[in-house]
């Protein structure tokens, strides 16, 4: 069957001819700009199988299954659900009994062309100005959102990058989201900022430096936490921090201990005693600033308050950078070896800094608005789907449903099966999504209770519960939890 731009797929004996931008009969293989690509719209089941060994320990993928069912696993109670490609209208929900309640599960995959990811990158290092463009392979894929609690937040994807820009921008965005969601490393650059390699569950690599630790707190908080341990071992401590640099002798914690004033003068803007903003420019050096030499944020010591021999510790909020000085006769700081007594406190700062990680939250929408006008009481219908009836999981992982309109959810991709995401050349991401609801609840909606017999009356010997092998995830068909709760 000749067709100029169609390609022939030889993945199976159907031998489909596939036009550009379309998929074959299986919906697994597609013609993407003349190339045969595997798009896996059916991925949820394949992935369910591929992670079978972790979820269902008996299923050994290395060996072809011989039809035997291991007895100990043939006890699960929840037998409802199947899959179909996106928009496949299909009734295939066979309910069975869980604790006397009929449950149904719709296992499907969504094609998400408006989706995005939110990145939390645990680092104080400066990635770039807020609102600046984040690029992958030179294409804009998102922007710097904000910095919160020692982490840098980036927002990638969304409809404007996926489908609102050039074709290349859309494809690169899709590729970036896909890789991030599937746990692969992606290099991003921020305009007027740093380059950062991001991978879910791994430390970020900022300008080729691998981040190890999250800071224990801001500079001021660090003073508060460690003042007692420093007292008597050192005369002055400066905790260098891009946000709030702390100074022991001026800080409330130091005052309470009776630390003598040193008259230290800091660059930047004093907020309250012992707390300084903007001692330097943001950067990827000491404490998220741009300084390589800590002394550059100090002004000269005054003879009125300082003294020769004054012991000064400068340390970053993660303890990764530190330097110890003593003032000479001219009150000039001279770097000396860090005394053992202080070495311990620096180590403790480090120890209290948690491992720096990148976390990737996939953000998708499951279409929210049930069109009004046909059903008698659309509000009740909408509310019941959103609030009461339906639990949404993503590859079995719990999701947070953002309140408000629609069904917009976030899921931590590291709690999902590996390679749970696929894509279609639209470009859009393909992700598994499951909807679970109590048959009872849904009957309550329409009032057909009298027409449904509980299966318990038919199959009283069934109904033992399967326990998921992923302990961090609540079992998707388990007892209902408040909407928005995570675990």
């Amino acid at each position: 069957m000749p067709d100029d731009d169609a390609i022939r797929c030889d993945a199976c004996p159907v031998l489909c001819y596939i036009k550009p931008g379309r998929a074959g009969a299986c919906d697994r293989y597609a013609n993407h700009e003349g190339q045969l690509v595997r798009v896996d719209p059916h991925v949820v089941l394949d992935k369910a199988l591929s992670r079978g060994s972790s979820v269902v320990p008996f299923l050994d993928r290395e060996h072809e299954w011989d039809g035997n069912i291991v007895g100990s696993t043939f006890v699960t109670a929840i037998g409802a659900g199947t899959t179909y490609p996106d928009y496949k209208p299909a009734p295939f929900i066979i309910s069975s009994e869980v604790d006397g309640v009929d449950m149904v599960t719709v296992v499907t995959e969504g094609i998400f062309s408006y989706c995005g990811v939110k990145l939390k990158i645990d680092t104080d290092r400066y990635l770039g100005p807020e609102q600046n463009v984040v690029r992958a392979q030179g294409e804009p894929v998102g922007h710097v959102t904000t910095s919160e609690y020692g982490s840098q937040m980036l927002s990638l994807g969304g409809v404007r990058h996926l489908t609102g820009g050039s074709r290349k921008e859309g494809n690169v965005t899709c590729d970036t989201l896909l890789n991030l969601c599937n746990g692969k490393a992606v290099e991003l650059t921020v305009d007027e900022g740093a380059s950062v390699v991001v991978q879910a569950g791994q430390p970020p690599v900022v300008d080729d430096v691998r981040e190890e630790r999250m800071r224990v707190g801001c500079g001021s908080a660090t003073i508060g936490m460690f003042a007692k341990q420093w007292f008597g071992k050192v005369d002055e401590v400066v905790v260098v921090d891009d946000h709030i640099t702390g100074v022991l002798s001026e800080h409330q914690a130091g005052k309470l201990l009776g630390v003598l004033a040193t008259g230290i003068k800091m660059k930047g803007r004093r907020s309250t005693p012992g707390r300084y903003f903007q001692v330097a420019e943001p950067g990827t050096a000491w404490g998220g600033t741009n300084i390589e030499d800590p002394l550059s944020i100090l002004l000269p010591f005054s003879r009125k308050t300082a003294w020769a021999g004054l012991r000064l510790l400068m340390v970053s909020t993660t303890g990764e950078q530190h330097a110890y000085f003593e003032l000479d006769e001219q009150l000039k700081p001279v770097e000396k070896q860090l005394p053992d007594a202080l070495r311990e406190s620096v180590a403790r700062i480090k120890e209290n800094c948690e491992p720096a990680l990148c976390t990737v939250l996939f953000m998708g929408g499951a279409g929210g608005s049930l069109r009004a006008g046909v059903t008698e009481n659309p509000v009740r219908l909408t509310h019941s789907v959103r609030d009461a009836l339906t639990r949404v999981t993503c590859g079995g992982a719990p999701v947070y449903i953002w309140p408000g309109g629609g069904i917009t959810f976030m899921v931590d991709v590291s709690r999902m099966p590996e390679n749970a995401f696929g894509y279609v050349p639209t470009p859009a991401l393909v992700a598994p999504i499951e909807f679970t609801l109590k048959l009872d609840d849904y009957k309550g909606l329409g009032g057909y209770v009298d027409q449904v017999r509980p299966l318990a009356s038919i199959m009283p010997d069934e109904g033992r519960r399967h326990v998921s092998a992923r302990p961090e995830n609540p079992w998707p068909l388990g007892p209902a939890q408040p909407r928005g709760s995570d675990s």
């Binding site: 004996p13 159907v14 369910a48 079978g52 209208p89 299909a90 929900i93 149904v104 049930l370 057909y448």
Partner: protein, 297 residues
Amino acid sequence: MRNRAQIGLLPDGRRLYLHDGPIDLIIQAFGPATQIQAAYRAATQRFVTVLDELCSELTILRQPFRGDGPQPTGVVAKRMAYAVAPYASQTFITPMAAVAGGVAEEILEAMTSAADFARAYVNDGGDIAIHLGPGQQFIVGMVERPDRPSLFGSAILDADQPARGIATSGWRGRSFSLGIADAVTVLADRAAMADAAATIIANAVDLPGHQGITRRRACDLTPDSDLGHRLVTQGVGGLTAHEVATALDAGEIMAYSLLHAGLIRAAALRLQDETRVVGAGREGLEITSNSGSLVNA
């Protein structure tokens, strides 16, 4: 091609998953463990050659069915031909309209021949073959769109009633539709029959010539489609309540004619949040619609 097919249990440890090329089956049998094991083994053994059998006569299966034309020889292909034959004299239909149901039927029969169990289903992407032992029952929920996860109704299949097949067709589905129904779900005696009937009824839910409906030639989308140059639905714009009712009327008339001919037992037609139910209400065979207090009132 045993190496090509994927065979495994789903993570719940109870459902068998079989995949080969475009075929995806979810299977579950209920009964004694030893019988289920035998049934699953039989399903697997039968499954691994099904796709090759079908592909060996794909050319015939993609032609409009003719009683006096060349007949397919494969067991599954014959099930498909049997299911579409009643429609062939009046309308365009190829055996491919019943391929999913035909496969589901065949695998279910392999299971029931090999083992003795209470009940089972073989679900081929929404086209389902059902086995019910005495006194058994399945409750099936109906969903029109996975992105709007509400059940628009449910169907009860009871051992006392003859329906053993369920199928759904609609323009959003994996297969092309000539009509505009979001979903037409059919209960029939056999899965392949339900599959063919759902296609026919979904094609009938239509508003010919309506400007808000996007249609394209099937061959422009899929060069080897059995639908050739026929226009298939690719988009449906907002319709007025009157237009929705008109389109559903056309489908309902078709559904009633199939019901009276004994080709189906019940059907639920869904278009833009409106549902029509045909043939439900007899004991042991229920289709109920959630928004359907309108329908049933």
